[in-house]
Amino acid sequence: MHSVSVKDLSLSFGPVEVLQKLDIDINDGEFLVLLGSSGCGKSTLLNCIAGLLDITDGQIFIKGRNVTWDEPSQRGIGMVFQSYALYPQMSVEGNLSFGLKNAKMPAAEISKRVGRAAEILQIGPLLKRKPAALSGGQRQRVAIGRALVRDVDVFLFDEPLSNLDAKLRADLRVELKQLHRQLKNTMIYVTHDQVEAMTLADRIAIMRDGSIQQLAKPDEIYNRPVNRYVADFIGSPSMNFMQGSIGAKGLTIGDVTLSIDGYKSATKLAKDDVIVGVRPEHVATGNDVADAVYCTKVTADLLEPMGADTLVWTKFAGHEMRFRMDGQVRLEEGQEVEIGLSPENLHLFDKVTEERL
């Protein structure tokens, strides 16, 4: 049984189609991340699943039950928001118990659940405080606690870490992952941060303009992006793209021709113009060049040292290209570097449809 199923879900505001015929099945205990740039509809989808937005068409099932028109509180979900959305006039305890009181739960049960949540999240000493007296990280823990006390199967997270500074975000990310291991709930998590997505997700759904581009495991998304958009979106720094064409001798990019014998294509490659993508970290340098199928010398036009690595900007076969080198290698701008490319590290996309070949 799927934990959450979205069938044929559409949402439009007047003539504007915000979500278009979405189908997603989420397994029990799965951590699914909805990833996309702002305005892609990821938060909207989450709000639809929560019941905070009335959908135009389709159905939503949670634990096999059709909840399409149920109130949010009847769906068996808990939700954590970006701005924490803690009730400022209530203490932490009040915030945690508000939903349970609304459900007319006996006081003994309420205090039991609040106690348990406080223990899991280590916010016991804060229970009597008001949200204003808490730090950002503590507030987000309370917000998670509010979902926790509801004892629900499905947790919904709407960019929960976006309001925190970088270091705290990394800490809480790990905590969230541990929490998921411990609770084994189904979690649906919306973010625009690909690092969060890659590190947390069992599967990632990449959204764009209200539809899902690719729904797959993180490594699959990284290694076999289904189209140019996904390829461009995932990976930092992002993939290099070049114009090329496939001929009898292999792949031609500008004045460079290399064999593509090792390329695992999804379809039969026809002789045609293509878009060639290569990730900066997949351009071979140093000792690795020897193993590459094609190698050449390029000029380092611009260097961006980042400590562990250095990003090198260059021209390759008439295209702007970036590649990553070990940060300890001494290199000056204007110097020549040897680089290598191999077919198994290339991504080929149809020039017109931009779908993966």
Partner: protein
């Protein structure tokens, strides 16, 4: 040098004791302040003079011997055309009108604003637009039909009829005020409360109203001054024995009976203006916020 000059422009302006522009600015402001303060001064000194002394001097002259007799008379025994128990009757009438009007108008408007900000239904925005336009319709256009409606429901001439009228005409501005305030609150708070199973009224009462103190205070200021200062509705919708203070004041001062007692009139005028003045001076910036927020008020 350039560096130094830049610092001057950013920091507090250097205090020069006397410059021509400053002289012009402060002189103009002071003259204006005199125009604004003179009537208040005149009212106060006149109200503290005896009648013979009023006849002797001019409006600006200070009282030779201060008397509070006019104040007592204005409060307790001054005559309107109908009775001679002074402004006290009008004061208490106004209080009786004010308290329920303020409570009812704010209660209704806060619910309106809440529904408009969070529970928009089809047609809600049209209603709101009509409401805002209504703020500009001259009251005279609606006065008579409302008399008929109040007569039909048996509230014409009753204080409660006037309370309803004040709630109706206060509604556009107050609804706008609450709608804008609620819209400025994070929507996620409302969503969180819905996930927590709170319904329409519970979200309003338990979650939103406890954090609305600032806007409720602004609304109270707006309504207390507005309703206290009302003359038109008081004249039209109440009977003489329950006339509010403004109407009573006008009847005392402009009654054509007997000799004009300017000192009593001025004491009565100050007494009537006292409530909104106290509200104004106590509330300070909130009053400004109220009229700025409610700039739509006609």
């Amino acid at each position: 040098m350039a560096d130094l000059a830049f610092k001057d422009a950013c920091g507090p302006r250097p205090k020069k004791a006397f410059t021509l522009p400053n002289f012009i600015i402060y002189t103009t402001l002071t003259l204006l302040a005199i125009y604004y303060l003179a009537p208040l001064y005149v009212m106060i000194v006149t109200s503290l003079k005896t009648m013979p002394e009023v006849r002797l001097g001019n409006v600006f002259s200070l009282p030779q011997e201060v008397t509070i007799e006019p104040w007592i008379k204005a409060w307790a025994t001054a005559c309107t055309g109908l009775n001679c128990d002074g402004l006290s009757r009008g004061f208490w009438n106004s209080v009786q009108i004010l308290v329920p009007s303020v409570v009812l108008s704010i209660a209704v408007a806060s619910v309106n604003g809440y529904a408009l900000a969070f529970w928009r239904f089809k047609g809600a925005n049209l209603l709101f637009t009509i409401l805002l336009f209504g703020a500009f319709i001259p009251y005279q256009v609606m006065l008579y039909p409302i008399v008929m409606i109040l007569r039909d429901i048996g509230l014409y001439g009753d204080v409660w009829g006037l309370v309803i009228v004040h709630s109706i005409f206060g509604m556009p501005i107050l609804t706008l005020l609450f709608r804008n305030y609620f819209s400025s609150l994070p929507e996620e708070l409302f969503k969180a409360a819905r996930v927590d199973g709170a319904g329409f009224w519970r979200i309003l009462i338990r979650v939103l109203l406890p954090m609305s103190a600032p806007i409720v205070v602004v609304a109270i200021i707006l309504q207390v001054t507005g309703i206290w200062n009302d003359f038109l509705f008081g004249v039209v919708y109440t009977r003489p024995e329950s006339y509010p203070m403004t109407v009573q004041l006008n009847n005392i001062v402009n009654s054509t009976f007997g000799e004009k007692e300017y000192n009593v009139n001025m004491a009565a005028t100050i007494l009537t203006g006292l409530v909104p003045l106290v509200v104004y001076f106590v509330s300070g910036k909130l009053f400004v916020r109220g009229i700025a927020a409610g700039a739509v008020k006609g």
